[in-house]
Amino acid sequence: MVLNNDFDRHNLQPKKFVLWLFIVSSIIFFAGLTSGFIVYAGDGAGKSLNVDLPKAFIYSTVVIVLSSLTMHKAFLSSKKLQFAQQKLWLWLTLFLGVVFISLQVYGWTVWTNLGIFFVNSNATISFVYAFTLFHVLHIVAGLVMILTAIKSSYGTVPNVTNTFRMEITSIFWHFVDIVWIYLYLFLLLNQ
């Protein structure tokens, strides 16, 4: 690890750019899914989202917006070198992320209890499951990133690396937050 901090630092900018490019491809992925929804729903009557979305999705929206705030606090603390604060906010974000996933899963159970299943002759409902499922997968990836950021905040790595991990984690976390807001608004508008 000691051998070339200079080389690593030199390499950080391209690596951050890699994350942005991944975000672009992720955006395209969700754009592909939602335009699939539009093409499907445009096919005619009986192919629209004709049930209410689970209430849990409202709460999960609140939770993920909150988690974005806590993530930003963690990011600011790491900039000010307040590592105790950084740790605290990161743990909080991690907790909120887990709560978010639980709320999404709860939303699915609410629907299945009502008889609104993933396997459905109205594929718009299958689409809702697919959207939320793939978004949750992104959240899981985000949680893994938060865990690595937490690990680095315990001072096991040089501060450059800590700041860098903190930075890319927060970029990604805000991104998955925005994706959820987009998906939720998209579904509300297509109800």
């Binding site: 070339n4 200079d6 030199h10 391209p14 395209i28 499907y40 993933f118 396997v119 002759s121 299958s126």
Partner: protein
Amino acid sequence: MSTIAINNPSAIHHDDHAHHQETFLTKYVFSQDHKMIAKQFLITGIIMGVIAMILSILFRIQLAYPDHSFPLLEVLLGRFAPEGRLDPNFYLSLVTIHGTIMVFFVLTAGLSGTFSNLLIPLQIGARDMASPFMNMLSYWLFFTASVIMLSTFFVESGPAGGGWTIYPPLSAVPKAMPGSGFGMTLWLISMILFIASSLMGGINYVSTILNMRTKGMDLWKMPLTIWSFLLTAMLGILSFPVLVAGVVLLIFDRSFGTSFYLSDIFIGGQALAHEGGSPILWQHLFWFLGHPEVYIVIMPAMGIASEVMSVNSRKPIFGYHAMVYSLIGITTLSFIVWGHHMFVTGMNPFLGGVFMITTLIIAVPSAVKTFNWLATLWRGNIRFTPAMLFAIGLVSFFISGGLTGIWLGNAALDINLHDTYFVVAHFHLVMGSAAIFGMIAGVYHWFPKMFGRLMNVKLGYLHFWLTFAAAYLVFFPMHFMGLDGVPRRYYAFTEFESMDKWLSVNVFITWSAILGAVAQIAFLFNFVYSIFFGEKSTENPWEANTLEWTTPVERIHGNWPGEIPTVYRWSYDYSKPGHDTDFIMQTTPHSQTMSSNLLHDFEGNEAAEKIQEKWNLEHNRIDSSEEVK
């Protein structure tokens, strides 16, 4: 040879860590060095290409001799060829896997994977990729995808058989036919891995090109190869995720019982539970990737051809900026033309008209590129190396295959031509021949950079002429079959009276294809032999300008032993009037080429212009490009 400025203090550190212990495993297998990864992609790509070519010979034999029995086939293929005749379902699998391997595994991974990995760091002046680890992962995902794709030949029901576009319902209902069974599932898994590999590679290429260029290498000094790799990678990043979206929905339909793509399906009089889905939805999602994909295939080949033709014509590429803008134009347009694959799906004729117009507009940037290549050759001091011949071959195929694109892009004509051999002829000329020729040109040209040795020229000529002739003999007659309405993917022409008369043509095509396949032995032998016993290469065997030819022949980790060289000029200063050699490398500063500098070389730097003008007066040199004849 050139002035080198220190522009990268980290280089010193890098040398330190280049000394860490390399084992066989880290050097040849799990290598993170871009040059080794490029070779891994190339060799895997070539092996996949040979396999896909053998598959095509198998179904060509069936097409030429549908009523003959070849006992040897049963020996080789067992239950896939009972009594020496291909099983009809296996025929469909052959066509499907041939297409899949050629389009994705050879012309996407084999082409972009090889040359983007090899040339991006070398030509922009970087020590490696933005993320060497991700680069390694990209290769191993590709390798795993290849293994899974080939393993489907050992599945009881055979490989996927629904065509490389895997339209539902054939791909979505496992019971539809043998080729829809487990082989199809593996096909989907293989493709997901492949897409992950492509995305990792593409993201790395874009980040490396945009962030890690050496000092002086601004975007407009990059060789056209780098431009084409950049735009290809961008296309991949913007289109492959849509295919992922489509494929996961397909997996849901296949394995979980959803109805995204399925509706009103009856098997043996029994209705399936799927209801309300739309198979057209798949076509939209697939072709939104599928069309950009054909440019992912051809654009790197175009970049390679531009570079090879300029070097071997000893002339600057004609219309460098126009070449870049036409690449950008093709990239942009490729996203709004996917509907031309779907003209006959019952699409609104107005929408069809829109897609037709956007499609035909692509002819403009394509024609710009073609004329620029021809103008580059014009009055050049041409060196007919094998690479050059293959690059010229690319232009030839791109013209003859591109012209038929104008027919096919027409929504009205497409009613007749859709899914006929005319389409097969078209895309085999532009992708199957032009893009492959670009790839082979790249192999001959950059072989010394990969292996430190030269390939045999005479075998190269033999390879070129046989392949060139065979490709035209195979694909040209198919146009006439298509115009007569002969549909593609049919198992036995003898079963249809209207197609019976084309059987003799099929025999001719098959023998031409066999000739073309045999010709590849010249290449394969040359390739393998030259790796070990080829003539040793010098540092710059082609007298080219680009940065990769400033690296040592030994191909060290980190590419340059000292500092990374600085770039002072574009990469196409060939035969510049007033200079004593017919090439000036990008690393040569203008202060060393006073006798050939033109005022516009200084890009508005008035101080430099003044110095040049003073020099011109002192040396009695008239500085005006118009004066030079």
